[in-house]
Symmetry: C2
């Protein structure tokens, strides 16, 4: 049987017991030009929460009754396709389930072995998370050597890579924003940012001004809402504000942005992106990030949640701040890259 987590009803705030159901369905069969994949690990990303809303997005909403959409990795156990070989560890849209079929409609990438990296690291730094950090900073943010770079969600999976990549690319100062003293300490001590500001304390805009008296050249936003507004009030001339996600807004729209006129005063730009648009250029990013990993210049941390049935709980951790590093769900720990 194939155990699956399906969307039962659309959540209005956080995902609750009523949002998803755990169901069993027959094992999928492997047809012509298909491969059967045993799912090993799920990548838990904030965007999954947006797919649960019945709202226009960059992908269609997950239908009620459908398996929850998710990326993840697994191993090919049967193949009738020349693209996949039994034993290949593959990455793609697995969904929250134990088994999935890879084919032309749902293609997977074969992951490289022999890099000495475990599956969790690859799903984190060389997966969607690392790609998002890279193209957001380099391509959308047009980060240049000497820039003052500020990142929100700095203790999070994407934010922690953004800051370290900015440092490696010659930022003059790297400032994180995170929630609570523990996360802020980790951002400085473990991820090596110059400074980290706690958004839960008052006066974020004033404290950003103290940390960046010449203004912010690149602001990488992972949270939206009042933190984005505080950053906008501190942009430097010709600044680039990169909108990666708005995690504070996914469960609850909250207050609006008041400081857009700073974009006029400082001739600055705010631009959103979706990492799916960069798939064709992933190798470029992977090469640079793998080099930093090999040199020991890219600290990373994965937060493993065991058991498919705990995937909804893992998703909620992203919004409660209860996770610690890139959140992954281990569906079957027999699936490894070694």
């Amino acid at each position: 049987m194939n155990r699956q987590v399906i969307l039962r009803e659309r959540p209005t705030g956080a995902v609750s017991d009523a949002t998803t159901s755990f169901v069993e369905s027959p094992l999928p069969t492997c047809g012509d030009d298909q491969a059967l994949v045993r799912v090993g690990m799920l990548s838990i990303d904030p965007t999954i929460r947006t797919w649960m809303n019945d709202a226009p997005g960059y992908l269609a909403p997950i239908a009620v009754g459908e398996v929850v959409r998710s990326s993840g990795a697994g191993v090919v156990v049967e193949s009738r396709s020349p693209r996949y070989h039994v034993g290949d560890v593959v990455f793609g849209m697995t969904g929250w389930q134990e088994w999935v079929v890879a084919d032309a409609a749902n293609p997977f990438t074969v992951l490289p072995r022999g890099l000495g990296l475990d599956l969790a690291t690859v799903l984190n730094v060389l997966g969607v998370t690392g790609m998002t950090a890279f193209f957001g900073l380099v391509d959308v943010g047009v980060m240049k050597s000497g820039d003052v770079v500020v990142v929100s969600g700095a203790a999070g999976a994407t934010g922690s890579v953004v800051g370290q990549l900015a440092r490696a690319r010659g930022a003059s100062k790297v400032v994180g924003i995170a929630g609570g003293p523990q996360k802020c300490a980790e951002v400085v001590e473990f991820y090596g940012f110059d400074e980290c500001l706690d958004y839960r304390e008052t006066g974020l805009s004033r404290r950003l001004h103290q940390a960046c008296p010449q203004g912010i050249d690149v602001y990488f936003d992972n949270v939206g809402g009042p933190v984005l507004d505080a950053a906008l009030s501190n942009v430097a001339m010709h600044a680039r504000v990169v909108l990666c996600g708005a995690i504070s807004q996914y469960n609850d729209a909250g207050a609006g942005i008041a400081n857009t006129s700073m974009l006029i005063m400082r001739r600055a730009r705010m631009e959103g992106f979706i990492i799916l648009d960069y798939v064709a250029r992933f190798d470029e990013a992977r090469a640079e990030l793998a080099t930093l990993l090999a040199r020991g210049e890219l600290a990373h941390r994965e937060h493993l949640v065991r058991g498919l049935e705990n995937a909804p709980l893992a998703l909620n951790l992203l919004f409660s701040g209860g996770n610690h590093g890139k959140t992954l769900v281990v569906v079957d720990d027999a699936v490894t890259l070694s």
Copy 2:
């Protein structure tokens, strides 16, 4: 004597009788490398209101007791500078006063004669207003042939030029947004937009969707606030949102912007600009706009207010919507280009 309008106290909302004072001071003298200019006409722009606030901006605030800063045109009546000749009609920062000195610290541009254009037309279409429309649409908005272009403040000086320039450059549809049925009728009938939506009616976002079912490629924003928010909810993929001014926000900050996440979903960009940055490229814009004028493809309208003492009233017209075309104050109607 030099009659002047000075800033008496900073306004909190609209400019009132207490905001400015009418004073007389001695006629300025013309030193070495200076010219004495008799002011003929003032350009009344929304940005003057922002200079009255004690807030960080792209120029320092006007000091209390100082002549109100403003651009305008005048005629050289005495010159001890090789740059200026007696009789030259010049454009620059005149301030709200009858006489001003042109020198290296306050340089003026000599306006061309013989184009068959009157001073009001030149101050409008070939002045800061036309330059703002051109560089906002072409440079910041990167408008391409076939684009769907939406402009707020469409009956206003800048907006009306933006729409006509978009049409001339091959826009597939040009939609205006303005306040009230009369202005909307003028936008379509006099300025030739395809359609104009009244922001005072409800459901602007829905009506924008009806007018632009494929989404907005370039949105040129002159007003900010809820109109900007409605446009953001309708951006097309890779749209460019040009922030030119936020006239609805100058007197009163109002509600924030809620739809920034559409910039992510649609991989769109929002960017502000200040026309002072483009001074070196004004000739490029003037050539194109003068050609459209000569062909009769650029309708324009000037709203003349007579008398320096009425400059504060003229400024308020911009915010009450009581003006009808580019607002100019006639200080001395003997100053002409003919």
